[in-house]
Amino acid sequence: MKLEILAALNAEREARRAAVLVTDVASGEQRLVREADLAADPLAGLLAERLRMGKSGMAETPAGDVFLTVQAPPVRIVVMGAVHISQALVPIARLLGHDIAIVDPRTAFATADRFPDAPVYAEWPDDVLPKLGVDRYTAFVALTHDPKIDDPGLVHALKSRCFYVGALGSRKTHARRVERLMAAGFTEADIARIHAPIGLAIGAISPAEIALSIMGEITATLRRKPEAAAAAA
């Protein structure tokens, strides 16, 4: 692999843009196809299909056998709420190889001291979420318990193509949230995207256990139904 290609591959991942590396396994020759240039590539159909499935693999082409390295952007978790559960979510997400960002306009919560290993945005969701770019490789998690903060975040998430939306709160809290979102014009189908109560039912009690149950649910959504996720994309 040429160093320029490796550097470009790393740069595309850093910028959260998908790309496919085409390697002729007989000669070792390679080319990097960025998502934006995909349509112009001679293997456009094949590359688009593999990208949609998110799966690397061998393929037969008229020019010989190639290996396609599909590089989808890393999963990112955007968390509303610089709370105790979020502090536990950061190392779990990191261990799994995901990016994570914390958003909370309450400056007493959103400090680098409390979150030394994750970017923290002490801003309102309406200001920061458009900048972050909630894309289809993003999981959105609302944990503040405060509708003033969670709701605008959820509105943004439901309008985006993110693959997971979860919101903390009891069934009662969620019922009131559903009413507010319906009043804001969302349909039942939109609102059904929200996992609430959030997390897998593992009887979690401590903040770390709740973080684990949330991460388990995100992982299940990510891995269990790739076709469904692809169809929604």
């Binding site: 692999m1 396994v25 799966k55 890393p74 190889g97």
Partner: protein, 109 residues
């Protein structure tokens, strides 16, 4: 805290090693049959001193891949390796799970 290396770290490390002037190879799982511990697309990166990051199996064949990778760094020619239960190499460094994998090893130039 030392964290488990992710694909992110692995490919960034390959680039960093090369920019430091080291010889570097990238090994990639390109095909698997049966039960294989790491999915297609998994990477192991190796420098010319035999340092490595990532994995192409559950630790079963990494040693053999590193040895081959050092040769690839010297020769510059890519290689396709195959490990499984049926060949002699497998007897030495085989996959205990009974699967079979093909690993493409290339130099970063």
């Amino acid at each position: 805290m030392t964290m488990l290396a992710t694909d992110n770290d692995i490919m960034n490390k390959a680039e960093a090693w090369r920019r430091e002037g080291k010889g570097v190879a990238i090994a990639t799982v390109v095909e698997t049959w049966g039960s294989a511990p790491r999915p297609v697309g998994s990477h192991l990166v190796i420098d010319n001193d035999g340092n490595f990051l990532g994995s192409v199996s559950g630790g079963c064949v990494e040693g053999a891949v590193v040895t081959e990778a050092v040769d690839v760094i010297e020769s510059g020619a890519p290689r396709m390796l195959e490990f499984g239960v049926a060949d002699e190499t497998a007897w030495k460094v085989g996959l205990s799970c009974g699967g079979r994998i093909r690993v493409f090893v290339e130099k970063v130039d």
